[in-house]
């Protein structure tokens, strides 16, 4: 384990060093992220100033959903940034090299490109989240614990999604579109799933478990989740991760590599 942590830190260090060689790229990337957050936040603010409620939630509650989405989205991008570069690694043949290294392959292709720029954007979102969480009336410690566990559960689902993208890249050399589909789907969770009608709501919650990934932690915080739903959410994330790992193993068996 100590060895793996050391390798992770070395990969992170080299990833940061490589990134810092492109200074203009760093600035525009950060600017884009900040602007997108501000625009969406302002949109919700102005919308709820007029409507007062969104699917039954007031401004503070709607913002909790939005911030939970942002936390999961930013952490996923920060930790799984290497997935975005995976297509190039498949078509250039670099994946062949990674497959011959004596460490778990995900250490490189999933976690190997830790993005420090996302860490920079994460800090203000964390502060904002803490501010709005403490605005919740009658907040219980158990709700904070449940939020924490369901948040981790959400990150496990996000891990599963990213493994699915990697598997699809091994089979088809396709990453860009599948990662965009994932990003668009998860963006649907920026506001509570309750806004969608059935059967779309159930599909987005249980089949493509965006709802469990993003809406459930926020609902737990607002004390709107029953025990049954919490149990189901852990079960679904377990099976989702299990399924994505199975698909990854299958993809590796089907991998054809690139010729010379």
């Amino acid at each position: 384990m100590k060895k793996l942590i050391k390798i992770f830190f070395l990969l992170t260090k080299t990833s940061i060093q490589s990134m810092l060689t492109h200074q203009i790229g760093v600035i525009t990337f950060l600017l884009g992220k900040i602007l997108r957050f501000i625009f969406y936040f302002s949109f919700l603010f102005f919308l709820l100033e007029k409507t007062k409620f969104l699917a039954g939630y007031n401004f503070n509650q709607a913002i909790i959903f939005f911030l939970t989405f942002n936390l999961i989205d930013i952490i996923s991008q920060m930790v799984f940034r290497e997935v975005y570069r995976f297509r190039q690694q498949v078509i250039s043949g670099s994946l062949d090299y990674y497959l011959t290294k004596p460490y778990p392959i995900f250490l490189k292709i999933l976690f190997g490109g830790f993005d420090v720029l996302d860490l920079i954007t994460l800090i203000p979102v964390l502060i904002l989240t803490a501010y709005f969480v403490f605005q919740i009336p009658n907040l219980l410690l158990i709700n904070i614990f449940l939020f924490f566990f369901l948040f981790i559960n959400g990150l496990l689902i996000s891990t599963g999604f990213h493994i699915l993208v990697l598997s699809s890249a091994v089979l088809t050399s396709e990453v860009d579109h599948s990662i965009m589909i994932f990003r668009d789907l998860s963006r649907m969770g920026a506001i509570s799933m309750d806004i969608y009608k059935e059967p779309l709501r159930s599909i987005l919650t249980f089949v493509i478990p965006i709802g469990i990934m993003i809406t459930y932690p926020a609902k737990a915080l607002l004390n709107l989740l029953n025990l049954q739903s919490i149990f189901i959410s852990f079960l679904i994330s377990f099976f989702f991760l299990f399924f994505s790992l199975k698909l990854w193993n299958l993809a590796l068996k089907k991998y054809q590599s690139v010729g010379n």
């Binding site: 390798i7 080299t14 060689t21 090299y97 290294k101 054809q256 010729g259 010379n260």
Partner: protein, 325 residues
């Protein structure tokens, strides 16, 4: 050390149709047999050359032996392991290098890649320093260590790739076209290095190369693959001795070729190229003494050399003959 029995690898590729809907919903695949039931064994400290035309199955074999690809059928045992299982104990004992691919951090000095390799393979500090200094001396690349990889030439980068791959003294080294695209100086430096490394570290090296002169200089044994099948397994010298029956005579002439000389060689159906002052004659070995007599008696020349048929030509003819059979 390496045992391969009845190894087969079949690749599937989609057949493109003109109908987009059929392409998406009713996609059909064609199968290509990259390796067709091949068997061989490789012992410790052997240096084997895999040769054959493009698409013959050389790289596929190496990728299966190093655990990158999953075989369709067959038994494979490398150092007691099934390579595709990717056991860390197995992967620590092998190294895979491809001349056409880069595994160093592109933007950073090469020492950053070396440090990562040290951690991945858990090389202790003293062994790391010793290995690194030996390898750097062998290649004389001390001045290049602080340069970002992207600023190195292809030859310099290949040397660094080799150093990076050998820092942990692997037992088996898979070298896929290590000299491709290199100038003659870098090519020769790498060939000499591989030779020395194998001698000093008693490692097993499996090499593919289109430059048969490289293979000739390095490999005691070759495995010749064509269309996924092994068509020869043995010494390169034996193959060339057995299948080369031609010599090339190059003569720098002092004067024009006399008519009676040309008549004689035409009678014997000997082929030649006349680019004055160079006369090049390709002749079967059994006619060599006859021709030498004729040359000495009838031609006035400054220089005369007798060369073996190029190794590439011998292998090409051998493969063509095998394909016909």
């Amino acid at each position: 050390m390496i045992k391969v029995k009845n190894l087969t690898k079949i690749y599937k590729t989609p057949i493109r149709k003109t109908n987009l809907l059929a392409d998406i919903f009713f996609r059909q695949y064609k199968e290509k047999t990259a390796l067709d039931n091949i068997s061989f064994e490789i012992n410790t400290n052997e240096l084997i050359g895999f040769i054959g035309p493009n698409g013959a199955g050389k790289t596929t074999t190496m990728k299966i032996l190093s655990g990158i690809l999953y075989p369709t059928f067959g038994e494979i045992n490398v150092l007691g392991y099934f390579p595709f299982d990717k056991k860390p104990e197995f992967l620590k004992k092998i190294s895979f290098i491809s001349g056409q691919k880069n595994q160093l951090f592109w933007e950073l000095p090469v020492t950053e890649s070396f440090k990562l390799t040290k951690e991945i393979y858990q090389v202790n500090d003293s062994d790391y320093k010793k290995s690194l200094s030996n390898l750097i001396d062998l290649f004389n690349v001390n001045k290049l260590l602080k340069q970002p990889v992207k600023t190195l030439s292809l030859g310099q980068r290949m040397k660094m790739e080799l150093i990076n791959a050998l820092l942990y003294n692997p037992q088996i080294l898979f070298l896929d076209e290590p000299t491709i695209g290199l100038d003659i100086f870098s090519q020769s430096a790498i060939i000499n290095f591989i030779k020395k490394y194998q001698k000093n570290f008693k490692s097993t090296i499996i090499l593919t190369s289109h430059y048969l002169q490289d293979v000739k200089k390095l490999a005691q044994r070759i495995i010749l693959i064509n269309q996924g099948k092994i068509i020869y397994d043995g010494s390169l010298k034996k193959l060339t001795d057995k299948h080369s029956n031609k010599k090339i005579i190059k003569i720098i002439l002092d004067c024009e070729i006399p008519k009676n000389f040309l008549e004689k060689i035409n009678q014997q159906k000997i082929s030649y190229k006349n680019n004055p002052p160079l006369l090049e004659i390709i002749i079967e070995k059994n006619k060599l003494s006859f021709l030498i007599k004729e040359v000495i008696n009838k031609l006035s020349f400054q220089d005369l050399t007798i060369e073996d048929e190029p190794i590439e030509e011998i292998i090409k003819n051998f493969i063509n003959n095998q394909s016909k059979n």
